[in-house]
Amino acid sequence: METKDLTCIGCPLGCSLVVTMENNEVTSVTGNTCPRGDAYARKEVTNPTRIVTSTVRVNGGSLPMVSCKTKEDIPKGKIFEVTEALKSITLEAPVHIGDVVLSNVAGTGVDVIATKNV
């Protein structure tokens, strides 16, 4: 039996979680205030993922940059590939919240979408 201490990042409460594992299988999660914490812990010890937020350049908008995010979370190990892929992109204004900035970013199957109107 093996235990791991984690901090849930599901919301700013940041509950302290203890995951108990046996033969690489999660047997229990404690310390979570809500079910999201349980789900986070199970994922974090097997396949950790993150939402990535960044910016890309825009031509002709009210600002030179527009903020964006991965629509869903992507594998943690791909974070840098995602930000790297966004560096080469320049959009033309107007850009609206929800517009796809880059589809299937870094082969994750996840789209990057704009989070601001510029």
């Binding site: 940041g14 302290s16 937020t53 974070i79 601001k116």
Partner: protein, 420 residues
């Protein structure tokens, strides 16, 4: 002079939510005044996610959260003026403001809501020795440069202070290709949210050195290196613990201060602890008809609470405009004790509140497995266990009107942290 029933100073999340709530409670004549070129306040530069989980049950980025509230303002046709700076507020509620088109102008308001937010503590307040070379930025300034202007302040970074903005910027600059070498924090605990330490530092192997401070900055034109040292319980550097980092950028994330110059000129009494106005249960200051909400009142950790608080201020301002107020209502003071640093509100009028009143506060140190205890005079009313409480996070207690009514001669309310 123009007349409005309600003038709201600041168009950040607090100002927007206050305006929406005042309109929904029957006030037609409302003006929001914002000095920036768009509504949304500080959220426009907070491009990371984590906003609005409580309000929208979704994890939004700052600009998305701001745009949802801005949309509510647009839908209600609430008037607002951008690029307009409020210069002065008088005790009889005359607002003096200025912009390019109108020049200087005055507005007589029946009620005012202060929603100016906060600013970062400056380096001057920190007393770091050495030259003042280029390459030293407040974390918030760096955030604005990177996220809104697309400009990277530097390549090798040291961050002093572990407030949320510093943590967020450690990740942001790392993702943009910079090497963030260390985050040094003077206190023995971080001032930021735990989730930000996990996602912004641990994920990228950036060390957090608690009880450390910057003791030297090298470089005349531009920062070349920074030396940090461990501090003892007296917060003085311990000789021999120095570590030198070569870097071109030093970010300071040393906390936020409510922006209250205007409040002062209006005669609003400020709390020495929060640096924000002292308010009663309706979030009204000592000046009749002047209300406050959001970060100008006390620095919040979560924007959801800002929006909730602002809605309360908007509703109460509407009530004040329509009904005036009963100045004879008895007010009871809340005393923060045993680790509770302050409470907002500070005064409660048991006869005036709605069924439930949220009292928010922060603690002064890290507490594990302790209780938040509430007393009416000497009677224990409620005791709630909290696994962890930390200065970086806001806590709350809910007061019940019906329970308060059982204590007609109540003199004081005490909120205290108690050991198990």
């Amino acid at each position: 002079m123009k007349n409005y029933d309600l003038v709201i100073v600041g168009g950040g999340p607090a100002g927007l939510a206050a305006a929406v709530s005042a309109r929904d409670n029957g006030i037609e004549s409302i003006l929001i005044i914002e000095r920036d070129k768009e509504l949304g306040g500080i959220l426009n530069q907070c491009i990371h996610n984590g906003f609005g989980l409580h309000t929208f049950k979704e994890e939004l980025t700052g600009p998305e959260y701001a745009s949802r509230f801005a949309k509510q303002v647009f839908e209600r046709n609430i008037e607002y003026k951008l690029n307009t700076m409020v210069m002065d507020i008088s005790g009889d509620k005359v607002v003096t403001a200025m912009n390019r088109e109108d020049g200087m102008f005055e507005i007589q308001a029946k009620a005012i809501i202060l929603a100016m937010g906060c600013r970062e503590r400056s380096r001057g307040a920190l007393n770091i020795p050495g030259y003042r070379p280029a390459g030293i930025y407040s974390a918030g300034t760096a955030q604005r440069l990177v996220n809104m202007e697309g400009y990277m302040p530097g390549k090798k970074v040291v961050i002093l202070g572990s407030g949320d903005i510093g943590l967020i910027m450690a990740r942001r600059m790392t993702l943009e290709g910079a090497k963030v070498q260390v985050v040094a924090e003077l206190m023995p605990y971080s001032g930021g949210l735990k989730r930000n330490i996990v996602q912004c530092l641990d994920d990228f192997g950036i060390p957090l050195k608690l009880s450390h401070t910057v003791i030297d900055i090298e470089g005349k034109e531009r920062v070349e290196a920074v030396t940090i040292a461990e501090v003892g319980p007296d917060r003085k550097p311990i000789p021999g613990s120095e570590i030198r980092y070569e870097c071109d950028t030093l970010l300071l994330s040393c906390g936020l201060l409510p922006e209250n110059e205007l409040s002062r000129s209006a005669g609003v009494e400020l709390s020495p602890i929060t640096s924000g106005p002292i308010v009663n249960d309706s979030l009204e200051t000592n000046v009749d008809g002047v209300f406050a909400c959001g970060n100008v009142l006390h620095v919040h950790d979560l924007v959801d609470y800002v929006s909730q608080e602002a809605a309360v201020a908007g509703k109460n301002a509407a009530k004040y405009i329509k009904e005036g107020k009963d100045s004879s209502a008895k007010a009871v003071e809340i005393f923060p004790e045993g680790g509770v640093r302050y409470t907002v509100p500070k005064y409660v009028r048991p006869t005036e509140i709605e069924d439930k009143l949220t009292v928010r506060f922060r603690v002064g140190a890290v507490y594990k497995n302790c209780y938040i205890a509430t007393y009416y005079d000497d009677t224990l009313i409620n005791k709630r266990k909290r696994p962890v409480m930390a200065p970086g996070e806001m806590e709350q207690v809910i007061l019940d009107k019906s329970k308060l009514a059982e204590f007609p001669d109540l003199n004081k309310i005490t909120i205290r942290i108690e050991e198990a």
